[in-house]
């Protein structure tokens, strides 16, 4: 249960800068997620907190104590942190019990105490009946839980998780997400979680730090980031999004690519803009401002994933699955956008799209 303060941490390997000026404070009991694509520097940041990497500059404090920075460096084994690795790193030559008990045996805790605490944590992670098994006899999900149990048994101040669920199948991932969150809430432990999966991030976090190219793009609660992304990257990375190129003219934004159609706009931006709208915020509305033709739609049970041709663009619209039967490809439809985000057209969108393709 502790506070992490990161002051202006940068990390470079030789000439290559992988982390730029990371500055943040994680409060006691918060669930923080570092979210971003591969190679963005999130794992590096995690390893700096853990003590496996040293920052090139900047400082890291755990509970007011300087652990990395300047001439000071506290080695990983002295930081009182629990960590779950992507590859689980469960030791194959020890059984589940010994794996989980390991941190306690290092601390030379008494045997009776060890038994008690291990039993408790095995119960929390639903592994009680596997205590004597060897890791090679366990499934991936079970091994992951062993790693989790091991990380928790010493009641650490801080729990770090490095993409722990990426090796599991979809259903298991969902249930593990839930379990981890439950455990965190119950124990009130501070968690720093690294992932590239935005659904995970959204579901579990108190705060998300979206990182790209070593720089934090935005940090905040999931709702804030989702609905008020500060740039095109964040808008695109979380959730689904439609991007449009438009120009502000007389209180409206005109979309040349959609045949000159426009929507009402009362914001401050002027000139050329990138407009982002979430497909679920675009509705089929007989009174809508945009007009187009329904080309295809995909029935996903709970939603109807549609593609509407408006001008030169194919716009993605997520509609209610209930009305699927009423929509017929080729229909002329009208759309209204109940909420959208506007960004300066500074080429960022093009740069981002380039990287993606």
């Amino acid at each position: 249960m502790s506070t992490i303060t990161i002051k202006n941490v940068t990390k470079a390997f030789g000439d290559k800068v992988v982390l730029q000026a990371f500055d943040a404070t994680f409060q006691d009991g918060e669930f923080i997620t570092l979210l971003g694509p591969s190679g963005c520097g999130k794992t590096t940041m995690l390893r700096i907190i853990a003590g496996f990497e040293r920052p090139t500059s900047g400082e890291v404090y755990i509970d007011e104590q300087l652990v990395s920075g300047g001439k000071t460096f506290v080695p990983p084994e002295k930081r009182g942190i629990g960590m779950v690795f992507q590859s689980y790193a469960v030791w194959p030559h020890m059984n589940v019990y010994d794996n989980v008990a390991y941190p306690l045996t290092i601390q030379k805790v008494g045997k009776a105490d060890i038994e008690r605490r291990v039993a408790r944590v095995l119960e929390i992670t639903h592994l009680s009946q596997y205590a004597r098994r060897l890791p090679s006899q366990l499934s991936g999900g079970q091994q992951q839980r062993v790693a989790l149990a091991r990380a928790l048994v010493a009641e650490p101040k801080l729990l770090l998780l490095d993409e722990p669920l990426s090796n599991l199948d979809a259903k298991l991932r969902e249930s593990m997400r839930f379990e981890i969150k439950e455990i965190q809430k119950k124990l009130g432990i501070t968690v720093v979680y690294v992932t590239h999966d935005q659904t995970e991030a959204m579901a579990m976090s108190d705060r998300i730090f979206v990182i790209n190219g070593g720089a934090v793009q935005q940090s905040g609660a999931p709702e804030a980031i989702y609905n008020r992304p500060v740039n095109q990257f964040v808008a695109d990375f979380l959730g689904k999004v439609d991007f449009f190129k438009g120009e502000v003219k007389n209180g409206r934004i005109v979309f040349a690519e959609m045949g000159g159609q426009s929507v009402a706009y009362d914001g401050d931006m002027t000139g050329r803009v990138d407009v982002a709208a979430r497909p679920e915020n675009i509705r089929f509305d007989d009174g809508g401002e945009l007009q187009g033709t329904l080309e295809t739609h995909y029935y996903l049970g709970d939603v109807d994933d549609c593609r509407v041709r408006v001008g030169d663009r194919l716009v993605r619209v997520i509609a209610d699955g209930y009305g699927y039967a009423d929509r017929v490809p080729g229909q002329r439809v009208r759309l209204s956008v109940r909420s959208f985000m506007v960004f300066e057209d500074d080429g960022a969108l093009e740069r981002m799209l380039e990287i993606q393709t």
Binding site: A50, E77, I81, Q86, H93, I106
Partner: protein, 796 residues
């Protein structure tokens, strides 16, 4: 479909064996000295027939009936043949007799006759025939030397001989055949039989081939049968009956191993256990009766075990420090520590002799000066069991070091990190996580050290013998020198060594089987560096001290000796420094050709060895066939056999006795090196492959890649560091190997190791030191070059 093919193959093999056997029996009853006699007879028969048909018979036909009969009669008498032998056979026989056992005719006389050709030759022959028919006819001039003064029967014999000489039997090919005849058909009875065969001309091409190569035919037949049976078993156990490249490769390698690796060694073992053809432990009993032998056994066991333990104890921390921490000068140390085994054992032993002999050893002198001890011999005495163990350890620990280093590099670092974050210091992590995870490669390395130390001869003979510390290997060589009876004793003793090697292998496999750890998981990871912080400087100092004592001191001794004129004086003494040794070494043309030979042989050995190791390792770890660990045992058997016994085994089995004759060629040297050193590569590859998860390979197969492709593009690259290490582990000792080379070499296959030893024994030790150091530099440069070329992938 495949099953039918296999059955056919089996039958074909059986047929070959049968035919070969018949041929062999025919040969054994023939009284000829060698099977190739049949080929020779066949060729001579051809030549004789050709001469008869083209040149003699037409001439005879030209004569009138009576004349012809008269000549025939003369011929028959000369050949002492009965009337019922057809006349053609008589002449052919005479001709053959002359060719083979004919009287010596002086070169000049021969030339006079054979220089005729065409019409002149024909005229000459006709003149001779006339002489045969008419006693008074003048002998042609050229034939005078042959028959000038003779009369009567002698004259006729001489004329007949001249006739045959003129048939032009001096073509090079025929002369070779005649020489070969003399070598393969010895003894009167045999020659008689051979002559009859030539005369009769009934030997057909197929039969002569079969008899001439009866043993090879039997061998090939046996291999066919064996392959067919093995394939049946292998495919049956996998329940996949498709004939795939994989099987062909495996079969080829198994055949190779059976004939060239297994046969010599098993042959010698057999001789040890079955002297005089019956199973008897009498030799073993007798041997254990000698207290000296028991002492030698004890010494060998103690020395090898302690060397193994010490070597591993040294190698593991060093590998960890150099591979996983931020020790100063890691790269430098890494290169340095593998250097000790790049010089031949006796050179290293000599250096230690110079340093630690009790009377005048350099280190002893320093110690005496330092601690103000008396002038008495000591305090260190290298001529003891302890001294032997010390030198063995300094020489062989690199085997363990290399094996462990390579495996450590490929280990998943998060296993150690998980321990660190759980609160364990780096040191504790080493003991609780790193060590258990590295156990397979640790054991592999230890095994290498043990077997190498146990079967080493050079070091015990230089360090042990002067101090009367006897080992099994030195006893074996002593027995071998005793003569024929000693050979049996020697073989029996070496059986002991082989048994020990096998026992160790067995134990290690049992121990390892329980701990097969997959640690290379396919996620590319960067090995984490452990920061030593406070301990960094002291540990670097410690490692440096170790490097100085174990590596630099002996090498410095070798180097300084190479510059000396008088070994007894310091190199700095006035007038004692010279470059002449170095100059001579580089100036000798022979050195260059020896170097080339060594390079080629060692490289071929290492590459072939690695190939075999990969395939065998695959067999061992990726298939479920019963008995798949047998090749593994056999390879270890070979490595545990003392060199001199291997060489003897090869001499006895590879001269044609089993259908293969590679005596005196480069091939036999390579085979010898393979037998002795294959295990080095095998163990590193096996332990590396055991650490790879099979899913990595399965993934490739699912993507459609054939077995060969998977091996080549997935498996091999993954274990490449271990393959490279294994390559060098085979290359280096093959490069300067001595014991087997001296027994098996021929003038064109002299190696640098042999050259080195020659210089050592006959020229001077300083020159030999110059050569040894030169070899070291050369190998070091080679390593550097390979390192650069393959961007650090392929090097020691």
């Amino acid at each position: 479909m495949t099953k039918i093919g296999l059955a056919l193959g089996f039958l074909l093999g059986a047929a070959l064996v049968f035919m070969g056997y018949k041929g062999l029996t025919a040969f054994q009853q023939s009284g000829f000295t060698s099977e190739s006699a049949y080929t020779v007879i066949y060729r001579l028969s051809d030549a004789v027939s050709a001469a008869w048909e083209d040149r003699l018979s037409p001439e005879l036909d030209r004569l009138s009936g009576d004349e012809r009969d008269k000549v025939d009669q003369i011929a028959r008498e000369l050949a002492s043949q009965d009337d019922d032998i057809p006349r053609e056979a008589v002449y052919k026989r005479l001709y053959a007799e002359y060719l083979i056992g004919g009287p010596k005719v002086s070169t000049a006389a021969k030339k006079a006759v054979t220089s005729l050709s065409g019409d002149a030759a024909t005229d000459f022959r006709r003149a001779l025939l006339q002489c045969l028919l008419d006693e008074d006819a003048p002998v042609p001039t050229r034939a005078e030397k042959l028959a000038g003064d003779a009369t009567g029967a002698e004259r006729q014999a001489a004329l007949m001989q001249a006739l045959f000489v003129s048939l032009g039997s001096t073509e090079a090919g025929v002369t070779n055949h005649v020489n070969a005849f003399k070598k393969t058909v010895r003894g009167k009875a045999a020659q008689e039989a051979a002559l009859n065969m030539i005369a009769a001309g009934t030997l057909n091409a197929l039969w002569q081939f079969i008899v001439g190569h009866s043993r090879t035919v039997m061998l090939i037949g046996a291999l066919f049968m064996l392959n067919a049976a093995l394939l049946w078993l292998l495919m049956g156990s996998e329940k996949r009956w498709a004939l795939d490249v994989k099987w062909l490769v495996i079969m080829l390698i198994i055949d190779f191993m059976l004939v060239f690796q297994l046969l010599p060694v098993v042959y010698m073992t057999f001789k040890g256990l079955f002297p005089e053809g019956r199973f008897s432990l009498s030799t073993l009993k007798r041997l254990t009766g000698y207290p000296l032998n028991l002492e030698a056994l004890k010494n060998t066991l103690i020395a090898s075990t302690v060397t193994m333990v010490l070597g591993t104890l040294i190698a593991f921390p060093l590998a960890w420090l150099v591979g996983r921490t931020d020790l100063y000068g890691r790269k430098f140390f890494r290169g340095l520590f593998v250097m000790t085994y790049m010089v031949p054992p006796y050179v290293g032993a000599m250096a230690w002799l110079r340093l630690m002999n009790p009377n005048a050893g350099t280190i002893n002198q320093w110690l005496r000066a330092l601690f103000h001890l008396s002038d008495a011999p000591g305090p260190l005495n290298v001529y003891t069991l302890g001294g032997l163990i010390w030198v063995l350890t300094t020489f062989y620990y690199p085997y363990a070091f290399i094996t462990i280093s390579r495996a450590m590099e490929k280990m998943d670092p998060s296993l150690e990190e998980a321990s660190r974050i759980s609160g364990a210091t780096p040191l504790k992590t080493v003991f609780t996580v790193t060590l258990p995870m590295m156990m397979p490669s640790l054991i592999a390395g230890a095994l290498l050290v043990f077997v190498s130390a146990a079967s080493c001869y050079g070091i015990p003979s230089i360090i042990g013998t002067p101090g009367n510390v006897n080992t099994v290997t030195t006893r074996i060589v002593e027995f071998v020198s005793l003569g024929q009876k000693g050979m049996n004793d020697a073989t029996a003793l070496s059986v002991f060594l082989m048994a020990v090697a096998l026992a160790i292998l067995f134990v290690s496999d049992v121990v390892l089987a329980k701990k097969q750890y997959i640690t290379v998981s396919g996620k590319s990871t960067r090995p984490a560096v452990v920061e030593l912080r406070g301990a960094r400087l002291p540990l670097t100092a410690l490692v440096s001290l170790f490097a100085v004592i174990v590596v630099l001191l002996p090498f410095a001794t070798i180097l300084t000796t190479s510059f000396k004129i008088d070994i007894g004086k310091a190199v700095t003494a006035p007038g004692n420094f010279t470059l002449s040794n170095w100059r001579t070494v580089f100036a000798r043309a022979e050195t260059l050709s020896c170097l080339k030979n060594s390079l080629v042989f060692a490289a071929v050995t290492a590459t072939a060895g690695l190939l075999i190791a990969c395939v065998m390792s695959y067999l061992l770890q990726r298939t479920r066939i019963r008995g798949r660990s047998i090749p593994n045992f056999l390879i270890t058997l070979g490595s545990g056999t003392p060199s001199v016994v291997i060489a003897l085994g090869l001499i006895m089995t590879m001269r044609g006795g089993f259908g293969v004759n590679i005596y005196g060629t480069a091939t036999i040297l390579i085979i010898a090196y393979l037998i002795k050193y294959l295990m080095m590569g095998m163990r590193t590859v096996v332990s590396a492959m055991s650490q790879i998860h099979v899913s990595l390979e399965e993934c490739s197969q699912v993507s459609g890649a054939s077995w060969l492709k998977t091996m080549r593009r997935i498996t091999v690259p993954l274990i490449f560091p271990s393959i490279a290490a294994g390559w060098f582990l085979i290359f280096i000792p093959s490069f300067y190997e001595l014991s087997m080379t001296t027994l098996l070499y021929s003038s064109t296959t002299k190696t640098i190791g042999f050259q080195l030893y020659e210089t050592w024994t006959f020229t001077s030790q300083p020159m030999s030191c110059a050569m040894a150091f030169g070899i070291l530099l050369f190998v070091g440069l080679l390593n550097l070059l390979l390192n650069r070329l393959t961007k650090g992938e392929f090097s020691i």
